[in-house]
């Protein structure tokens, strides 16, 4: 689904990514671990071109999306992203946050004459509201639909942010340390939700410091250090039997 070939990114003299190669198959759940500053988040930000790579290719569904001729916004419609800081729009209610992007995109298709999502903007909004409420129902937050994000706990906000991503029906979701900004007692509710999503056929790339979670949910674990992928394998291979001394050292510190 997505192939990263020799991806490099530098900020001035700081070389954050020094040639990352990574290939993720359809439906695969990949967890990226590694010390701070190893380039995990930068890699993730490059995958939907929120950060423009300095060099290398990212082939997503057959197209090199680093090519400026590719309409990156169309690519982003099928790539969801969940941020460390949730990034909900604070002047919009929970429901408005969730339906904002899909309503816009579907209205755009309607204008092009594609009526898959509804025959009028009103109908599209109604459909999206219904779907958003279904999703909120699933995570037990349907009573918060008209609340503003500032009135919710961190865990609730992050779950809403995940639902906002799901509302786009993405094929690939990028998680950037989704629990790092949360109070400890809220980590579980967010991880539980991600676990639930992992059961579906959505490809997921998760940057995380939750090793127990990575072991459980990942099909494959990537260990990054100093801007390269140092080691990759099944969770068992990486956590129980790491080959590289750097991986061993890192795991001995965090496990």
């Amino acid at each position: 689904m997505i192939d990263v070939i020799n991806l490099k990114k530098s900020f001035g003299n700081l070389h954050v990514l020094r040639g990352v190669n990574l290939s993720v198959k359809d439906g695969e759940k990949v967890c990226v671990i590694g010390p701070s500053g190893s380039g995990k988040s930068t890699l993730l930000y490059c995958l939907n071109c929120l950060t423009d790579p300095s060099d290398g290719e990212i082939i997503y569904e057959g197209k090199d999306i680093t090519d400026f001729k590719v309409n990156i916004n169309e690519v982003r419609e099928s790539i969801g992203m969940v941020f460390q800081q949730f990034n909900l729009f604070k002047h919009k209610t929970v429901l408005e946050n969730i339906i904002l992007a899909p309503v816009h995109i579907q209205t755009k298709y309607l204008r092009k004459g594609i009526k898959d999502y509804g025959n009028s903007k009103k109908e599209i909004i109604e459909n999206n509201k219904k779907y958003a409420m279904e999703l909120l129902e699933k995570i037990g937050l349907s009573d918060k639909a008209n609340a503003y994000p500032s009135t919710l706990s961190g865990g609730q906000q992050q779950r809403i942010a995940i639902v906002r991503t799901l509302a786009m029906k993405p094929k690939l979701i990028l998680f950037d340390e989704p629990t790092s900004a949360l109070d400890p007692e809220m980590v579980k509710e967010v991880l539980d939700l991600i676990r639930d999503i992992a059961k579906e056929n959505i490809t997921m790339i998760i940057v995380t410091h939750e090793m127990g979670f990575a072991r459980e949910v990942a099909d494959r674990v990537i260990f990054m250090d100093e801007g390269v992928v140092l080691e990759e394998g099944t969770p068992e291979e990486i956590f129980d039997n790491p080959k590289m001394s750097r991986t061993k050292e890192f795991l001995s510190k965090v496990l």
Partner: protein
């Protein structure tokens, strides 16, 4: 010399007229310019160094010319537009607009800069175009700050309306000065002098409080 209440009322209308109309004009031009300044800055969503430098330069030059000088510089322009450059309340509108335009641009730029970069990344990741980033995130997320900026701008333009005196354009502040110059001996003991000053204070208070109130009302960032 005496002033009647109806004269004071006329001065109030003139002052409000100059202030709001020139402020409106300043925002019509200043809002887009402020947005442009923000998005073309180094950390903006479409950095463009030359455009940002040129805009900054123009605004800095405009802002460093004192209002009175701008009034003088624009005399001919005002005459071309209105037929005369002095004596009527609307003669001061163009100079006030030119003076406050740079101020407004900077205010808008600052307000937009307060928007958390994460929100911009979030909407980008949802596939928003640059224009949508501006209309769906930058402007809505900074609206509380934009409104309080508007109140500050109005009050500062109100202060600038004192230069209306120099071209006989009237208004309340010029009226106070006129009243003083006609009653130099005992102006402090004239109740009308104080009434006019109190009216100015009330107008400023009103604008400021209303601005704060609206700003708070639409600010959803705080826990209500």
């Amino acid at each position: 010399m005496r002033v009647s209440f109806s004269e004071i009322f006329k001065m109030i209308l003139e002052t409000l007229g100059m202030t709001f109309i020139s402020c409106g004009l300043a925002y019509i031009l200043g809002l887009p310019t402020g947005i442009l300044l923000n998005v073309t800055s180094k950390k903006g969503i479409m950095p463009c160094k030359w455009l940002n430098t040129i805009l900054s330069l123009i605004i800095n030059i405009l802002r460093s010319i004192p209002c009175l000088i701008i009034v003088v510089l624009l005399m001919q322009t005002v005459r071309d537009i209105f037929g005369r450059a002095t004596g009527e309340w609307y003669a001061i509108i163009i100079p006030l607009f030119v003076t406050s335009f740079g101020f407004v641009s900077r205010m808008v730029e600052q307000s937009l800069a307060e928007v958390d970069n994460g929100k911009i990344e979030a909407i980008e990741s949802l596939g928003a175009t640059k224009f949508q980033i501006i209309t769906k995130v930058l402007l809505p997320e900074s609206r509380a700050s934009l409104i309080s900026g508007l109140a500050v701008t109005l009050v500062s333009i109100l202060g600038y309306t004192s230069f209306a005196y120099n071209i006989g354009a009237g208004g309340l502040i010029a009226g106070i000065w006129k009243f003083y110059s006609k009653n130099t001996g005992d102006y402090l003991s004239e109740p009308f002098f104080w009434i006019m000053i109190i009216v100015v204070i009330l107008i400023v208070q009103g604008i400021q409080e209303l601005g704060l109130l609206i700003s708070k009302k639409i600010d959803k960032r705080r826990i209500l």
